[in-house]
């Protein structure tokens, strides 16, 4: 190549790069009727009944409507049904099952105008079909408890049906977990239940409008990266403002922030977005350009104590642990006061919260007194020992890579060290921590993690002694602390079946008092989700509970 031809070649490359960069300046221009949301996960399936995953729940909430849901005020409301059935309005009637058990018959009516995206009405046939899918042992549905309890469905007409449950609980009219499937599309795919997981149209024919009955349908997707939603042509509710909603998956939160600043995305979802510390820092730097909403909700961060540990069996040691923790300082110093401390597993915003529940304030002197009473009198190099010469030492574990939790561990380590408790930090990847350490109770001292729940969610599986995981029950149940209290068992069982709210609230109060008294778990705080929205986006109301904000996406507008 001669010098002249080389110059010509370089010149051509320069022009190419210039054109490329010019063409690349796409982020500045944004059509007014589109919205791009950033989230951190991509769903493994779009089938609503297979696998529980927040990313799927978040996206499908824009394309589907459940029969009932908890709204932003944590009230149960009808979404696909006409009237919420209650015993008072006569649509729910307690009855006896054939075996003589107390059950209930609940009658729902689907909204007459409700139809799937292909124009086919949503009918009782879909209800019966979805129930059959859920009940079939080969279909791969995770939580079959609901379908087992729902033992019969009487179809009254195309839009009306009665559900018969073999158990009478106060949540009889909440059908949030009962996902409807379009019988006219999915029945063929369910002909072999064992293969349903792989044949479901939600994954093989995702863009079929008939799969969706919400304001949007899935119009395009790039596996692992992007999902594009477009208006459902047959949506029967209030018309949504945005013509297109694009959900972009960005696993790295720093890249997510950069995408927001560059206009690659318009907003970051609170449900699957930036961790609180990063959101707080973002707010300080860019808060004027964006609307940052911190919504504390039903994500309960706590430390499970393994009650089989001989030292932790002693209630005085457990109380000393909580008295030695300055949770208010942690909240104000690390979280800018956005995540107030928890006093029990019940959120103060929940209607069953007891205002007079005992509160453990920071009191290291009291902690030391309790430890001495428990026999931990001698100190060597600042660490306490008992008469047998045993060292007061625990291991705390959490998910490695979770900055907030790792930071809290370090603060707690120093606060507990100040009263003579030695703490070893041993963190594991979430895969190992949740896959084995917690679920098989392999942690010897403490395990820090969170539970997410819905309003007035009865903590039966985490506190009832029948739910302590072991090899005999196939490691099911979430009572990882090994807490056994017959009184607590009775209260839990009563709460579930108590229909009178006032009486139930009293039982909840008992539960919270016992929880605070026995301290099987150290409550930390209720996690706040950070919703980072553009200033022009109106009517996004975070729910702070399991039902995502996107269930009301038709209200969102410029």
């Amino acid at each position: 190549m001669t010098g002249a031809s080389l110059k010509r070649f370089i010149h051509k490359i320069n022009i190419f790069i210039f054109v490329l960069l010019l063409n690349g300046n796409v982020s500045a221009a944004k059509p007014g009727d589109s919205l791009t949301i950033g989230i951190t996960q991509y769903p493994s399936t779009f089938n609503p009944v297979i696998d529980a995953m927040m990313a799927k729940t978040y996206i499908l909430a824009m394309t589907r409507r459940p029969l009932t849901a908890y709204d932003q005020d944590w009230k149960l409301v009808c979404m696909l049904c006409v009237t919420l059935p209650t015993i008072e309005n006569g649509l729910a009637k307690p009855e006896r099952t054939k075996n003589g058990k107390r059950g209930i018959a609940v009658t729902f009516q689907i909204k007459p105008e409700a139809r799937w995206g292909d124009g086919v009405p949503v009918t009782s046939k879909d209800v019966v079909f979805s129930w059959k899918v859920g009940r079939n042992k080969k279909s791969g549905v995770g939580n079959a408890e609901f379908y087992r309890s729902l033992y019969k469905i009487n179809v009254i007409d195309d839009k009306t049906f009665t559900l018969h449950f073999d158990k009478l609980t106060f949540t009889y009219n909440s059908l949030g977990g009962f996902e409807l499937l379009p019988e006219h599309i999915e029945a063929v795919n369910f002909s072999d239940p064992l293969k349903y997981r792989y044949k479901t149209a939600y994954d093989t024919d995702t863009f079929n409008e008939g799969l969706y009955n919400g304001p949007y349908v899935i119009a395009n997707r790039q596996t692992g990266s992007t999902v594009v939603l477009e208006k459902n042509p047959n949506w029967w509710g209030r018309k949504p403002y945005f013509k297109t909603i694009t959900v972009r998956v960005i696993g790295n939160t720093s890249a997510m922030e950069a995408n927001l600043l560059s206009g690659g995305i318009d907003m970051i979802a609170g449900e699957l977005g930036l961790p609180l510390d990063q959101a707080l820092s973002f707010e300080k730097r860019h808060g004027r350009k964006f609307n940052v909403i911190f919504k504390p909700g039903l994500i309960y961060e706590h430390i499970d104590l393994n009650l089989d540990n001989p030292f932790l069996k002693d209630i005085r040691v457990r109380r000393a642990l909580i008295y030695a923790m300055n949770r208010d300082a942690i909240n104000s110093q690390l979280f800018d006061g956005r995540q107030p401390k928890a006093n029990s597993s019940v959120n103060p915003l929940d209607r069953v919260y007891a205002d007079d529940v005992p509160v453990y304030d920071y009191n290291p002197a009291k902690a030391i007194k309790l430890l001495k009473q428990a026999g931990w009198k001698k100190t060597r190099k600042g660490i306490r020992y008992n008469d047998k010469g045993e060292k007061l030492s625990f291991t705390i574990m959490t998910t490695s890579g979770n900055r907030s939790r790792e930071l809290i561990e370090q603060v707690l380590q120093s606060q507990w060290r100040a009263v003579g408790i030695d703490i070893r930090i041993k963190n594991e990847p979430a895969r190992v921590f949740f896959g084995q350490t917690v679920t098989k109770r392999l942690f010897t001292g403490m395990a820090m993690y969170a539970w997410i729940s819905s309003p007035e969610s009865v903590p039966r599986t985490t506190l009832h002694s029948a739910h302590i995981p072991d090899k005999f029950n196939n490691y099911s149940g979430q009572n990882y602390t090994g807490y056994k209290n017959p009184e607590m068992n009775r209260v839990l069982e009563k709460i579930e079946v108590e229909l009178d709210f006032r009486k139930r609230k009293n039982l909840w109060r008992k539960l919270q008092f016992m929880y605070a008294r026995d301290l099987p778990v150290i409550p930390l705080y209720f996690r706040a989700n950070a919703y980072i929205l553009p200033g022009w986006l109106k009517n996004v109301k975070p729910t702070g509970q399991q039902d995502p904000t996107t269930l009301w996406v038709e209200d969102w507008k410029r």
Binding site: K137, T223, N252, S262, V432, Y475
Partner: protein, 321 residues
């Protein structure tokens, strides 16, 4: 040649078989299974549900039985379904494979096109200003973590200048070359800069070593021009160790770059393999890793052929002629 091809093919197949077992066993030995993860996320799953789901997914069988089942099916061409993506493994693999091939293929070619001449240039006068400058840049390339460079690039080109999309891949068909290229510029830059450093250093070291040989001194004494000595006599011999390194790198083209893919939200092979391992998706992880193994074996096989082409003293049997 035929004997060589035959023996290498047999070796490759045995290696693949061993690798398939090793990968399957390693994933299987990881604590917990998909149902354990499901239980931890959903407090309502009962022990009966857990047992039912394990049986449905074949997780109640011993690891060896599961592996042998998989192997039997694989021999009949059925590599199973991806548990995470709910589709046949190859269908799940294909888009990620194509994306990674596009990204890493460009990175591979670009880094060689830039690094090899730089290495040769640096080796001409070891210790000169040119050599120091190239070395400095090479060490910078090696030392700077690609994910950090990726964030810096995003801040510069997307946030500050607004020239390029901050990540992702174009959605829909028929986006055109220019549109697609925009999304790949920054990831290619981040990964190429990291690769250039290593390749430049290998090339430089190999060239310096070759330039010390007697035949080079003889060529110089005979008055052969420096350019001809470098490119004709030295480069050919110096390429032999570099070819080995390149062959080993070739497998990366299909196994992806996890962190860079995550930062730029490119759903490629790195992310897919990571998700498959974390999510206990045996079939997907196994096939993806075996695919990378096959390519590494193939690349090494090609490298062996290249040795013969580069150095006539080397024969297929490995003996000197």
């Amino acid at each position: 040649m035929i004997k060589f091809l035959f023996s290498r093919s047999i070796q490759g197949m045995v290696l693949l078989l061993i690798m398939s077992f090793v990968i399957y066993a390693l994933i299987g030995l990881m604590p917990g299974d998909p149902i354990d993860l499901m239980i931890s996320a959903n407090p309502r799953i009962s022990s009966e549900d857990a047992a039912r789901l394990r049986a449905l997914q074949g997780l109640d069988q011993p690891l060896m039985t599961r592996y042998l089942n998989w192997l039997t099916n694989a021999f009949s061409g059925d590599f199973g379904y991806s548990r995470l993506m709910a589709k046949p493994v190859f269908e799940a693999l294909q888009p990620a494979l194509m994306r990674t091939f596009q990204l890493m293929g460009v990175v591979f070619v670009l880094s060689l096109v830039i690094a090899l001449p730089l290495g040769v240039l640096a080796s001409r006068r070891p210790g000169s200003k040119t050599d120091y400058t190239i070395n400095l840049l090479a060490f910078a390339g090696i030392s700077i973590p690609p994910f950090w460079l990726a964030i810096l690039l995003i801040i510069l080109f997307s946030v500050t200048l607004g020239w390029l999309p901050a990540g992702g891949v174009p959605i829909g068909d028929g986006q055109g070359f220019l549109k697609t290229a925009q999304y790949f510029i920054m990831p290619v830059m981040a990964l190429t800069l990291a690769n250039i450093g290593g390749h430049t250093r290998y090339m430089r070291a190999s060239m310096i070593e070759t330039l010390k040989n007697d035949y080079i001194r003889t060529a110089k004494a005979k008055g052969v021009p420096e350019k001809k000595i470098l490119l004709h006599h030295a480069l050919r011999n110096a390429l032999i160790p570099v070819v080995t390194i390149i062959a080993l790198d070739f497998g990366n083209i299909f196994s992806g770059a996890l962190i860079t893919e995550t930062v730029f939200s490119i759903p490629g092979m790195g992310k897919l393999i990571y998700d498959a391992i974390i999510g206990n998706d045996f079939n997907l992880a196994l096939v993806a890793l075996l695919f990378a193994t096959v390519l590494t074996i193939a690349a090494n096989f090609i490298a062996d052929i290249c040795y013969v082409a580069l150095d006539s003293r080397i024969s297929y049997g490995g003996q000197k002629q």
